[in-house]
């Protein structure tokens, strides 16, 4: 029972986890994103090759594999941060039309990326403006889409800081003064403020302490459910994939070698490489 007493003390730091109803599931829904035969070559070296999959609204897809397996290349290609050598990526815009993302104009692409999409980098410094305040970091996307009322922007920013468990009185502090976990949570708020429907995450919990990681995972999970976000999460951590994702793609040498329901791939892996990957996990 003493164990529990310790936990009671630790419980002071626990936030009131928001138990949220997930987005209702509708099997007749059409895919939000279609990836078709996407390949990226660096000269003769393969970045990723012949990758195809669909993503539905509200669905979280994990891309797993070891370093160098092409996960991040694939993520960059789908999110238009990089142009693939060949292949197609289609996205269902808010007006329900399917558009080929590489045929969008630069202006349309940017608008998409700062409204309907989010990108969470492994290193928060890559996704944040380190020398402007937390409030402005969150407010930037709003200002970019024409929000012109300072008070409203600040209020929204403050609400989002609260959502990601950053004390409101830190709103005027620069992320330079934040811990790694806070920075990552700030980056998430900055991405979610415009209510995107699709968020790309590149090792979102990489480089964080285990306890900080747990907090972030819990936060991400409830936000994804609450907002009905679709997400593509690149991770080498199978535990992260299990906690966050519905569906999983296993990559090796640039190709998808296994895909399916997350718990099925983890508990009943079929491909030799997936079996090796899963058997390599350290048990606590």
């Amino acid at each position: 029972m003493t164990r529990h007493m310790d936990m009671t003390h630790a419980g002071d730091h626990l936030p009131k986890t928001s138990l949220v109803a997930p987005r209702p599931m509708d099997l007749s829904e059409k895919p939000l994103l279609q990836v078709r035969s996407v390949s990226k070559y660096y000269g003769r070296r393969i970045g990723c090759e012949d990758v195809s999959f669909d993503l539905w609204p509200g669905e979280v897809l994990a891309i797993v594999g070891e370093s160098g397996s092409g996960k991040t290349t694939l993520l960059d290609c789908i999110s238009t941060r990089m142009t693939p050598t060949s292949g197609m990526v289609n996205y269902r815009m808010r007006d329900d039309t399917m558009r080929e993302v590489f045929r969008l104009s630069e202006a349309e692409k940017r608008f998409l990326m700062r409204t309907d999409w989010g990108f969470v980098h492994q290193n928060p410094a890559d996704g944040l403006r380190m020398t402007v305040s937390a409030g402005a970091n969150v407010g930037e996307r709003l200002m970019a889409i024409g929000e012109q009322h300072y008070g409203d922007i600040r209020q929204t920013a403050s609400d989002w800081l609260e959502q990601v468990e950053i004390a409101k009185d830190r709103i005027d502090d620069q992320p330079r003064a934040f811990s790694g976990g806070m920075r990552q949570r700030l980056q998430i708020a900055r991405n979610l403020v415009t209510g995107p429907r699709l968020v790309f995450m590149d090792e979102p919990t990489g480089g964080l302490d285990v306890s900080v990681q747990a907090r972030l995972l819990d936060l991400l999970r409830s936000l994804v459910a609450e907002l009905g976000l679709a997400a593509i999460v690149v991770t080498h951590d199978l535990a992260v994939a299990r906690l966050l994702s519905h569906r999983m793609v296993v990559m090796k040498e640039g190709r998808i070698i296994e895909t399916g329901l997350t718990d099925r791939v983890l508990d009943d892996p079929q491909a030799p490489y997936t079996q090796l990957l899963i058997s390599s996990i350290l048990q606590v």
Binding site: S105, E106, S133, A144, Q148, H149, Y150, G151
Partner: protein
């Protein structure tokens, strides 16, 4: 504003080396004029140009000088100001440069000038149709300090991705309670491009809007030219709940008593004594010539004419 090469007789007279009219060669002027025309056609857009070495260091107005040299003609009258004053080193040197190289008439009177080259001010006297004001620009890119990559800022202009500009204003309000940017205050030109109005005080921003005069901007080191054609909307960025405001001054000009003008602080002694005087020296002198006086105006410096004018005005009043 047409330019003409020196006549051969002048060149042969040997007074100075055989320079072309207004220093730059005709091909260079054509290149710069094309950039200017493009700038006028796309108000607020920064046009790259092949900036030349000028016989003065960068930072002394090489961009403005090249623009002026490309548009000035023998019939023009030139005024040059630096922080509003006609008599500071930079203004005097550039005025002398054109007097020598183009043999144009120079003036300190805003109303008389057809071309005004300026550093950091727009004259108080309203500019009129037919006048051209040429700004010396140190850093043309308003997004530079927020986004250091030129490749990225160009794209941001191209796709009107200007959220960052408001981030800066947001930071001002968050830290200081108001928009603390006092000079180089960003403007949106003709509802499209965000532009740096050069380091003029924001006090001058309203003068840019719907100006009758053509406004040209030259950045020599940065190799950019941009322009605002006459009668163009120029809006200073702000928030709905923190609207754009110009500086106000509590007291009038200590010399001419002028109000509603931009004042410079002048330290008088090391006891804390100071006064505020017009930044626009021509405007101030003109007012004093018309008999206006400020609290500290030292009449001994006044010319006899203005004194007598004052006396005659007082006589008329009486």
């Amino acid at each position: 504003m047409t330019s003409a090469p020196f006549s051969s007789s002048e060149a042969q007279s040997g007074a100075i080396a055989d320079y072309n009219f207004a220093y730059l060669d005709e091909q260079t002027k054509r290149m710069i004029r094309r950039a200017i025309l493009k700038g006028i056609a796309i108000p607020g857009y920064q046009v790259p140009f092949a900036s030349r070495e000028m016989p003065m260091p960068y930072g002394w107005g090489t961009g403005g000088v090249q623009v002026t040299a490309s548009i000035i003609g023998p019939d023009d009258t030139l005024k040059v100001i630096d922080q509003g004053a006609d008599d500071t080193t930079n203004a005097v040197s550039i005025r002398a440069f054109f007097a020598k190289m183009a043999k144009v008439k120079t003036t300190t009177h805003t109303g008389e000038a057809s071309v005004i080259q300026t550093r950091h001010r727009i004259p108080e006297e309203q500019l009129h149709e037919g006048q051209v004001i040429v700004f010396q620009v140190p850093i043309p890119e308003p997004l530079r300090f927020l986004e250091p990559r030129e490749t990225e800022t160009r794209k941001m202009h191209a796709v009107e991705d200007y959220g960052l500009m408001h981030v800066k204003l947001y930071e001002d309000i968050a830290q200081k309670g108001h928009i603390a940017t006092n000079y180089a205050y960003p403007v949106k030109v003709k509802g499209r491009y965000i532009m740096d109005p050069s380091p003029t005080p924001k006090f001058d921003n309203p003068k840019m809007n719907q100006s009758e005069a053509l406004q040209l901007y030259g950045a020599g080191r940065e190799m950019r030219i941009y322009a605002i054609p006459p009668y163009t909307d120029v809006v200073s960025l702000d928030f709905e709940d923190y609207p754009f405001e110009v500086q106000t001054f509590e007291e009038p000009c200590a010399l001419c008593g002028g109000t509603g003008v931009f004042l410079d602080e002048v330290i008088l002694d090391d006891q804390g004594g100071r006064m505020f005087v017009c930044s626009d020296s021509d405007y101030c002198e003109d007012r004093r010539a018309k008999g206006h006086r400020g609290a500290l105006s030292p009449d001994i410096y006044e010319s006899e004419e203005s004194l007598s004018a004052q006396i005659s005005q007082e006589g008329a009043d009486a």
